[in-house]
């Protein structure tokens, strides 16, 4: 009765899981089937993992049939074997499966062949798929081993994945499927936008939903302010191509001139069939300071259009290049590429393509990205191509792509749609109808998938239907149904490293390196001008790895740890004193050479000099001798006795090694703390982190080392409010920022353990406050609860 169905998208073995779970209540059946399932699952798991990136055809009928069998298998086996599960657990399983499946579906790279559509997992999709696949198998094994009781949970999770994958991939499939149809398109509009000011990071994928397939290029860090919009609009109609270029200076950018040239054909700047033309525009600020603190980037864009033969339904192509130069980049970033798209036969059908270049100022840097979208739309009845206009540079919703067509309705479907009363005849935007079409198809598929799930669950337990409906709607509604992300034309190798003068001292000092050309800065490293920089990879050496490891000693720990405190925890000193040689390796901190503006450390940082002085036995003897003289004078000790005592001080000092050792330990700990402080200060100061936060971070970083280290993810979690904002400025992921700024290393202690351990140490410790009151009764300290304003806030105690 082994019905095993392998879902190539979800990677699940639905019935296998059900069988395994079902046998939990039947020992004999369990023994036989469990062994079979384990062997089968392992074998298929390995087989499936080897085929993670294999391109496979998309067969909708087969997929829906398989989904039906999968659900039926789950329901039947649950009824036969009598396995039941918590309703809420099942709902969450399906919901989680939908989310995971949607991610997998979105991660599919869908391409159209001559007759069918093919899908291949992206790296992200494969990773999610692999993790969920292995996780499900582990969960199944854990269930069989009696570690957890999952019931039908994993089976319904698998169902959710299947449905989610179908939903997630639908947009890509739809787009790809259109390209294998005879396209009825003969008009194209290309908008090339340069420097649209926006404040966010990459363009939201959802913003391109209405435009069909879209491709996002890598983001890059540059200098300069938003320089404005460049738009190149390309419209094909009646066999000719119209190309217009325009530019909009950024708001407040008054110092620049924006020459504009268009060079092809005769006025009115049209291209006939098989003609090629080029449009170009550039910005050369006459007053660079007006753009950004003297950086004054110059930008040039060239849009080359080859109107191969629109009327015969062949293709049009656009070549573009962009170079953004300024006076501080040794290797000016540049990018170029080309894209071709089918326009189909006819002279008045709609197709829309959009290029969008954006330049974003981010503090001392600027981010540049490009977006390419295009869509063939259903044939509109209008006979004119979309009017060429410029996108609004003042669009408040800066995460949305500038729209290529004036008056274009919003992506949610505006009133211009036929359903909303708009006229399809006068609708100038072919994308509007395409969007409506997408919505209908999508809604139908979602409803069908949801109905299948609801019916199946209803067979198991009618009470589950309504909660599940809510969960399903919630998931499907929040999951943006977007198309695939690809970078087919971008030559990212041209921009591997961006060099920035972060501290405005006229010397390039920081390099942002995108090693894998994925648009995300992988590391930030000090910059020194190389003799022959590796432009291809942007590699200029590695970023300093200042990881002091699990330093478990900190100034103050030694003299304050009460006797009897547990050996592990917050404030317990390391039984093995810090090894200054290995813990503080001068070779780890080459950043000194690239951060000349770092303020010198205090002369006596945390009493370091004091500790250093004490560490000298000779000095200790000398000072003790001075104390002896003072005491002898006070008491009236004869000189002879005083000299005999003085003679004994030397052997006493030599015997009392603990004085020196304690002092040395304190000195080393102070050195370590100072090193941490200096390094953190260096890293944060150049990032513009406010002084107060820098101090707090120094403390946190010291504490992380002090407590013996915590897991990196815990540090990331702690520092999210800081790393998030820094990451936004730098275009880096927050966890990358955390890794760079807080290299606490790999430790096993988790955050929860840290809280509990710390609390145990505090609560289990002696009543030190009582000792203070008893033994040092003259001390102040009953300030009441009215001083919190001095403790928290800008005038926080400690800096006063």
């Amino acid at each position: 009765m082994g019905l095993f169905i392998y879902d190539r998208f979800s990677g699940s073995f639905a019935s296998g899981v059900v069988l395994a779970q079902a046998t939990g209540d039947s020992s004999q059946l369990r023994t036989v089937l469990s062994g079979t399932v384990v062997l089968f699952s392992v074998g298929v798991l390995v087989f499936a993992l080897t085929r993670a990136f294999k391109q496979m055809p998309i067969r909708p009928v087969f997929d829906y049939l398989r989904l039906g069998l999968q659900i039926a298998g789950v329901v039947i086996m649950a009824v036969v074997v009598g396995v039941s599960s918590s309703t809420q657990l099942l709902i969450w399983a399906v919901a989680a499966g939908l989310v995971v499946g949607a991610i997998q579906g979105r991660g599919l790279e869908v391409s159209a062949g001559t007759e069918r559509v093919w899908a291949r997992r992206s790296s992200l999709g494969a990773a999610v798929w692999g993790v969920s696949l292995i996780g499900m198998q582990i969960a199944g094994f854990a269930n069989r081993a009696g570690i957890v009781v999952l019931g039908q949970t994993m089976a319904w999770f698998a169902v959710g994945i299947t449905v989610g994958a179908m939903i997630g991939r639908s947009e890509n499939v739809r787009t790809a499927r259109r390209s294998i149809k005879p396209a009825a398109v003969a008009a194209a509009v290309v908008v090339l936008t340069l420097g649209a000011p926006f404040t966010g990071g990459n363009v939201s994928p959802a913003s391109a939903q209405a435009a069909g397939e879209w491709v996002r290029g890598p983001g890059r860090i540059l200098g300069g302010t938003p320089i404005g919009n460049f738009q190149v609009s390309l419209g094909a109609s009646g066999g000719v191509v119209n190309l217009v270029i325009a530019e909009n200076p950024a708001t407040g950018a008054t110092g620049g001139t924006l020459p504009n040239s268009v060079d092809f054909g005769a006025p009115p700047e049209t291209l006939g069939p098989n003609e090629t033309g080029t449009a170009s525009a550039s910005v050369t600020p006459s007053d660079p300071g007006a753009f950004n603190a003297g950086y004054g980037p110059s930008v040039q864009v060239i849009a080359e259009v080859n109107n191969v033969d629109v009327n015969n339904g062949l293709a049009a192509s656009v070549k573009w290049s962009c170079k953004i130069d300024n006076d501080f980049c040794d290797v000016p970033p540049a990018s170029s590429g080309s894209v071709s798209f089918s326009l189909g036969a006819g002279s008045s059908d709609g197709a829309t393509a959009t290029f969008s270049w954006r330049v974003q100022q981010c503090g001392d840097a600027c981010k540049v990205e490009w977006v390419y979208t295009w869509q063939e739309a259903a044939p509109p009845t209008t006979t004119t191509a979309a009017a060429t206009t410029t996108a609004s540079a003042d669009d408040d919703d800066t995460s949305v792509l500038p729209l290529p067509v004036a008056g274009e309705p919003g992506q949610e479907g505006g009133g211009d749609s036929p359903e909303a009363g708009g006229s399809s005849v006068t609708d100038p935007d072919p994308r509007t109808q395409g969007q409506i079409d997408i919505d209908r198809t999508q809604a139908a598929r979602q409803a069908a998938a949801g109905l299948l799930v609801l019916v199946a669950l209803g067979l198991v337990n009618l009470a589950e239907v309504l909660p599940l409906f809510g969960a399903f709607e919630r998931v499907s509604g929040d999951t943006p149904i977007i198309s695939s992300h690809r970078v087919p034309t971008y030559d990212g190798g041209e921009i591997g490293v961006i060099v920035v003068d972060a501290n405005h001292d006229g010397v390039a000092d920081t390099a942002y390196v995108d090693v894998d050309q994925d648009g995300v800065i992988d590391r930030v490293e000090p910059w020194t001008t190389p003799e022959s920089p590796d432009v291809g990879t942007g590699s200029h050496g590695t970023f300093e790895a200042l990881d002091h490891g699990a330093v478990s000693e900190f100034p103050g720990a030694l003299p304050t740890v009460p006797d009897g405190e547990p050996e592990t925890g917050f404030f317990t000193p390391d039984p093995n004193p810090i090894d200054a040689e290995s813990g503080i390796d001068a070779s780890e901190t080459p950043a000194e050479a690239v951060e000349p503006r770092v303020a010198p450390p205090p002369q006596d940082f945390l009493g370091r000099d004091t500790a250093d002085t004490i560490a000298s036995t000779a000095t200790a003897m000398q000072q003790a001798g001075e104390d002896l003289d003072a005491l002898a004078s006070d008491v009236g000790v004869p000189d002879e006795v005083r000299e005999r005592v003085r003679e004994r001080i030397k052997p006493a000092a030599e015997r009392l090694e603990s004085i020196r050792e304690t002092a040395e330990r304190a000195r080393d700990a102070v050195d370590w703390a100072k090193d941490i402080g200096d390094d953190t200060e260096r890293r944060l100061a150049r990032l513009g982190v406010p002084r107060g936060l820098r101090d707090g971070i120094v403390w946190l970083r010291g504490m992380f080392g002090w407590v013996g280290g915590i897991a990196q993810d815990a540090a990331t979690n702690y520092l999210a409010p800081v790393t998030g904002s820094i990451g936004r400025v730098l275009g880096m992921e927050p966890d990358k920022v955390a890794e760079e700024l807080f290299p606490v290393g790999d430790f096993g202690t988790q955050l929860g353990d840290m809280v509990v351990t710390g609390a145990e140490n505090i609560k289990g410790g002696a009543n030190y406050g009582g000792q203070l009151s008893d033994n040092a009764g003259t001390i102040p300290g009953d300030a009441g609860n009215t001083g919190l304003d001095d403790i928290f806030g800008p005038n926080a105690w400690g800096r006063q």
């Binding site: 104390d627 004994r648 107060g692 707090g696 609560k763 203070l772 001390i779 400690g798 800096r799």
Partner: protein, 212 residues
């Protein structure tokens, strides 16, 4: 039994609790007891109580994922520092512990409060560093005077000098909150020796021998 005595056993009770509800009840009850004890306490015991109540709220934050408890943790940690900040030994002992409690719950605070707490901990670091330096210096001074006391007590005819030095060292240890050494130095000579090297009993006698 006082709140502090109860609190010293609280974590064991929490660990033995059989359900999250029981744990929460224990913690909440302890927090209320701590608040009541705080109203009646005087002196540095207020810092001790505030720190323990803060730790209770930190555990509640961790156990129940309760953001309100996280804010209470920060509040009680601040009260602890508010009391302790007037005495160097108390600063050195309580401030890092209070700051650690704040750090433990940092991710449960909203972004505005997170920034405030981070900034506050920077100030605490400054105060802690200054207090630590003073305590280290005073401890070093006490150690050197204790060295004189040890040398003097092994010298015939220097009893008065030894006694005077021991008293001064003892006072120094008390000032920095090193009460173990303070009590040892106050009681007898061996205690003072033991402070420096507990593995060398009879050090004073050997010192006397070396000096001959």
């Amino acid at each position: 039994m006082s709140f502090i005595e109860n609190d010293q056993e609280l974590m064991a009770k929490v660990a033995a609790a059989r359900s999250p509800v029981e744990k929460l009840a224990l913690l909440a009850t302890s927090a209320l007891e701590g608040e009541a004890a705080m109203r009646n306490a005087v002196g540095m015991e207020r810092a001790e109580i505030a720190l323990r109540v803060g730790a209770t709220h930190a555990v509640m934050t961790s156990e129940t994922d309760n953001d309100e408890a996280a804010e209470d943790t920060v509040l009680w940690a601040g009260r602890c520092v508010d009391v302790a900040r007037h005495f160097d030994a108390a600063i050195v002992y309580y401030v890092p512990r209070a700051a650690a409690l704040c750090a433990c719950v940092l991710d449960h605070l909203d972004s505005g409060l997170q920034a405030l707490v981070m900034d506050t901990m920077g100030g605490w670091m400054h105060g802690y560093g200054k207090a630590l330096e003073r305590v280290a210096s005073q401890t070093a001074d006490a150690d050197l005077v204790a060295l004189v006391a040890l040398a003097a007590q092994a010298t015939e005819g220097a009893d008065d000098l030894a006694s005077q030095a021991r008293e001064r060292a003892s006072a120094g240890y008390r000032a920095v909150g090193d009460f173990d050494t303070f009590l040892a130095a106050s009681s007898d000579d061996k205690g003072l020796v033991g402070k420096f090297d507990p593995n060398m009993p009879g050090l004073a006698a050997r010192l006397a021998k070396d000096g001959e």
